[in-house]
Symmetry: C3
Subunit: 138 residues, 3 copies
């Protein structure tokens, strides 16, 4: 069994950003044929998720849904120190989560045909986000 | 440490389907006493989740909640290529996720007394769904 | 590669309870420098999640959001055997999930600066909750 751990830095802007290729490049340098790759986002106002990567309209519709579900209205929240997008970002991060475990098969990400890995930045302002990658396999 | 990877095929119909027994059968053939079993669904319009497996009303109430939360109304979405259930299926898949990591204890799934593993098919039409199982343990 | 599995008992009361220190203490006794720690909650009416641990208002706003999103009104549900908080607890558990995989780095939890691990008790009454910890690393 082999073990690898590393970091991925992502310069984010609000909305869904695909990071599948970045993760794939990190994995390509490792000597693991089959295994489990776990991504962990070290923040509480952004998320990691798997989504369809064919039609950009899916990203726009997802962003619009979360804008409706978790409204940016300061009257709803006590924690508003960093503006109207502060608490909604924490709630969206809780709902979508910050961690993904993906199988590695034949040395590559074992995603389905239409699946991509996305970082969802919930804050208005661009951020530097850090993802820890942990790979266990053989 | 031992490593096993396999596939589970699920013929789905809309709603929650319990797959605990199928996963348990796959696990039973492996020589792992304690470990971690990760399920990964290779699709973006269905989900994996843990839920109560005693009362079928829980499944019905969950399905009704998600029908209210993510409405099937094409006027809300741009991505409607495959009908009114297309984009709501992607949103429900994002909310509930496609991956579960479950402990293996004494050679069996370490679920709680009332927990079952479910595939939630979000599309109206039946589908063939594929789940990758990755087992690491000793 | 090393493998450890254990249990954490949590005496819960309704709302978000931070368990980062309890998890950290369990980890501190293990001889693993880098690895993957997976927490699994063996219940269907509570959740595990990562959230901001600096401002207690974030916890209050999260609890208020989920009270609005999943309403405790028995007329909405068929499964009401254990009272108005029964089915909403199952729905919140499905939405937020019962499992977290966290990297271990330099022998410690690889959380971000503002991240804490929380158990979210969705029932009104206090409960004894059990979390299985599975650690794989070197």
């Amino acid at each position: 069994m082999k073990f690898h751990q590393g970091k991925l830095q992502v310069a984010s802007r609000q909305g869904l950003m695909e990071i599948t290729a970045d993760v794939g490049r990190w994995l390509a340098g490792k000597d693991v044929t089959q295994g489990l790759l776990t991504l962990f986002l070290r923040h509480t106002s952004a998320s990691l998720l798997i989504q369809e990567n064919a039609d950009p309209d899916v990203r726009r519709d997802l962003e619009a849904f979360f804008a409706r579900l978790v409204i940016e209205d300061e009257r709803l929240y006590v924690h508003t120190a960093e503006g109207p997008d502060d608490m909604p970002a924490h709630i969206r991060s809780a709902l979508l989560g910050v961690q993904l475990s993906i199988p590695v098969t034949e040395g590559r990400l074992g995603l389905g045909t239409w699946q991509g890995i996305y970082l969802f930045e919930h804050r208005h302002a661009p951020h530097r986000r850090e993802v820890t990658l942990t790979l266990i396999g053989e």
